[in-house]
Amino acid sequence: MSDYHLISAPPLALYDQSFEGVSLIAPADFAVVSIALPLGGEAAALKAIKSAFGKALPDVGKSVLSKSVRLVRMSLDQGFVIFSHATPDAESFVAKKLKDAAYTTDQTDVWTGLILSGPKARTVLERICPIDLHGQAFAVNDTARTTMEHLGTLIIRTGDDEFLLMSASSSAHSFLHAIEISIRNIA
């Protein structure tokens, strides 16, 4: 046993606020692992992903939910696995499932996640998000990587009125501020 102990403190831990028409929550135990598909080994990697999670890695710009694990296709050769996992071993958890068929990198601490939901969620995002979030243009499970208030952001539509927003953890407070200001600014 060590004499010392490290306490986990993600930047927006326990954030949970309700506003008129929207609520904003930082999900607990938010884990992200990236998967890179080896050149020439894409088919094997995709197969491994499917057998590990029960769903195929979707096309670029799409995500799929398999039980509580969300698979997001970030680019042709990269995907994210987003799931709930408390301990700092999310990467080995995914790597084991994939049995070396793909390269994995822990992204949990790289990102901060916020769930924006409610009937006014889209109106809030209109102020900072250049992506067309109309239901016809951005359906449930659609994803886009873009920029909001100068911050790189991954947006995933997780429901008709619900979006998961992910941005860099170092600027988490600026990102939260940008969303809170948008909430304040809508009529």
Binding site: D59, G61, L76, T147, G152
Partner: protein
Amino acid sequence: MIINHPLLGPRDAAEFVYLGDACLIDRPDWQAEDAAGKFHEYGYLRDNPAGLHQELWYHEQGDRSWLVVTRDTLTHAISKVELARDVARARGRGS
């Protein structure tokens, strides 16, 4: 401007970073005879067309892909957008 990304569809140019002429893909062979001259040309000499121009854009706030965009420098009309990796392979940069 809008760049119609071959995988993601139309995206605001603000998500992209511009590099320059797509001839930057054609990096010379370091062992070629006159490699110094060829690298000099590669590094410094560019056409400056009034009209169609193939150029490199990087989707930094997106999927991180490099694109070859064919743009009319007179009108900004974009007639073609390709993944730079495909272009590079087509130009013989693959293994």
